[in-house]
Amino acid sequence: MKFQKELKDSIRKALPELDVVIGWCGSFDPLHATPHFIRREEDIEKLEIGPLSVHNLATYLPGLRGKKVGIVVKGCDSRSVIELLQEKLIARDDITIFGFPCTGVVDQAKIKKALGYVGNVESCDMSDKSVVIVAAGKAHSLELSDVLADKCHSCRYPDAIISDIFVGDKSGEAVPAPADYEALATFENLSLPDRFGFWLKELDRCIRCYACRSACPLCVCRDHCAAESREPHWLSQENNVRDKLMFQVIHAYHLAGRCTECGECQRACPVDIPVLMLKQKMNKEIRDIFKYEAGVDPEETPPLLSFKMEEENITEKDW
């Protein structure tokens, strides 16, 4: 990335005042990146940003409360930061936000599917248009757009909405188009038994690792989650799909109007369950009822965290 040097320079300048700066660096193979915690000057050189920078680093912020933290954000990640600020789960003065113009990140599941078997990855070259992966002695050339995450195709905020330091040139539209939930609409058109059957089938393979919860930047109950709580005893620990679905419903409800659809829940799922769709459904309803979109304005209050005597679009008194 052309502004990577600029980013490193600004981190170098800010680091003496900060406990840590979180970015990304290379991981166990050339096809993966991993969150990188920069504490010392010599850690800066390892920083790499690009289409492999998939992780939403805002997830780490509530756990670092009280520390001076720098964070590198994509546009979508910055919305989680805004949401955390809105809910006063982090303090604005404690964080330094480094933004950059994101051009999309990959979906590893799509790469795996395109390659059939990835095998031993020897190299991975990314350009604006293509990805060339050499694995198990064979070169595979893929169109970048074919392996970008779904959220990137409909991205409306490629540039960080909030930042202290922005490197590179802003690329996004000033006024983004409203979210469309096209894929969701197709699913919603299925019959109720079909939709229910879909979830029973998908969630059957859930291993209850709760990576969906742990990777979520807005799942902040942490050690007091309904998933394991005995008092109250919401969920059984039995391996049945009813409890797995129940957890996902609780998760989606907790996130209604707060979720910024970063997709970390789904990306983190080791068995690829499309759990993001449940949150998108909630957000679509929130959009229609409250004309609200999460994580855009730090001064806003999420609709389900506020109270109005008269809601414009809830007509209970007309019954």
Binding site: V20, S27, F28, D29, H32, A33, T34, P35, H36, F37, R39, H55, T59, Y60, A109, K112, K113, G116, Y117, V118, G119, N120, V121, A136, E202, R205, I207, R208, C209, Y210, A211, R213, S214, A215, R222, D223, E228, R230, S236, Q237, E238, N239, E264, R267, A268, P270, V271, D272, I273, P274
Partner: protein
């Protein structure tokens, strides 16, 4: 020489269908973008192109199982009294697991030392372990995350298996590893395998040779104890950990569990379910005290258990089979190899004076 047979790939499903007449048969299946072990279904494809996302751990150690059923009833003599009856629920039947990898199946041998110890045997585990046979698929390729050869194993290690299936031209060379394995190789679908033994050996050797040099982990038990009190070390290596349970639940050797009571009306069950040392609740005491209060403490225990405490108790055997799932499936890319090597290489800074 042990019994060897040949199975044509095209006969695989028919063979498993035969085995399914007498046993519950599990095989890997592609679901979503994941590969999981599921009951054999002749209508579904068996997916063996690469190792499954989740190992077949659940076939012997289910995600949850009933240990004891209990029932309350009012005492007819005195209605203020509740009578309780409790009854054990033992697993029944036999199973055959096809398509686990050598690392997956070897994982059970780490369970065995704990669950089938002389002084206290877990009869639930033992009932399944004794009645489950493993037809293990030797690996014909490796991934960046594979490190079975670091922990005294190899891509064709038969330890813990009953039959080792080696992919050869057009099918599999099936080698009986145990007596039970020999009894699995009686089907008319199988033909003589002696003429393919050489090819099988070549496949195994090629894969083994493709692995890079393994580091020496002999020092890991000692070195991990040396860094035990170095909280900065553990904060550093655990910084990106999200405290989810992916690594433990996908691990073929992670054997920790929880016991909880679940009731419905006047009856209920005491169940055992997978538990996860990366969760704060795992060690949280009723008083609110937690001996492992942060993810740094918890990751230290996970790595320490596998590479120090377990070997200390079990003849130096490292309780990791090198399958690499904890690395590959970690949403944050925590790499256990990196942590162990860092601990081994760690030299405390000597403070002069």
């Amino acid at each position: 020489m042990a019994l060897v047979k040949y199975l044509k790939s095209t006969d695989l499903k028919s063979w498993l269908a035969e085995l399914a007449q007498e046993n519950r048969v599990f095989a890997p299946r592609y679901e979503g973008e994941a590969v999981i072990f599921a009951p054999f279904d002749p209508e579904q494809e068996i997916f063996i192109k690469y190792a499954a996302t989740a190992p077949p751990k659940k076939t012997v150690f289910p995600q949850s199982e009933r240990l004891v059923d209990f029932m309350y009833s009012k005492d007819p003599e005195d209605l203020s009294r509740i009578k309780i009856e409790a009854q054990e629920v033992l697993p029944q039947g036999t199973a055959v697991v096809f398509g686990g990898r050598p690392c997956d199946v070897r994982g059970f041998t780490m369970f065995d030392r704990v669950y089938m110890a002389e002084e206290a045997t877990d009869i639930y585990y033992k009932a399944r372990r004794d009645n489950t046979s493993f037809i293990t698929l030797a690996c014909d390729a490796t991934e960046n995350t594979c490190f079975c050869h670091w922990v005294n194993s190899s891509p064709s290690d038969p330890t813990g298996s009953d039959v080792l299936a080696i992919p050869v031209e057009g099918g599999f060379l099936l080698k009986a590893v145990s007596d039970r394995g020999e009894t699995l190789l009686t089907s008319q679908l199988l033909s003589a395998g002696e003429n393919r033994v050489e090819e099988g050996e070549r496949v195994c050797k090629e894969v083994a040779d493709s692995l890079s040099q393994a580091p020496d982990l002999a020092n890991s038990p000692k070195k991990l104890l040396e860094v035990f009190d170095n909280i900065e070390f553990w904060q550093d290596v655990s910084a990106k950990c999200l405290s989810c349970g992916t690594c433990t639940y996908l691990c073929p050797t992670c054997y920790c569990f929880n016991i909880t009571d679940e009731t419905q009306g006047m009856k209920g069950s005491r169940i055992r379910s997978w538990d996860n040392c990366m969760s704060a609740l795992f060690t949280m005491e009723a008083s609110g005290h937690n001996p492992r209060p942060t993810k740094a403490h918890r990751l230290k225990n996970r790595v320490g258990h596998k590479f120090s405490y377990y070997p200390d108790l079990h003849d130096g055997v490292i309780s990791c089979c090198g399958c690499g799932r904890c690395i590959k499936s970690c949403p944050a890319g925590v790499d256990i190899r990196e942590i162990v090597l860092k601990a081994i290489a760690f030299e405390p800074t000597v403070v002069e004076g």
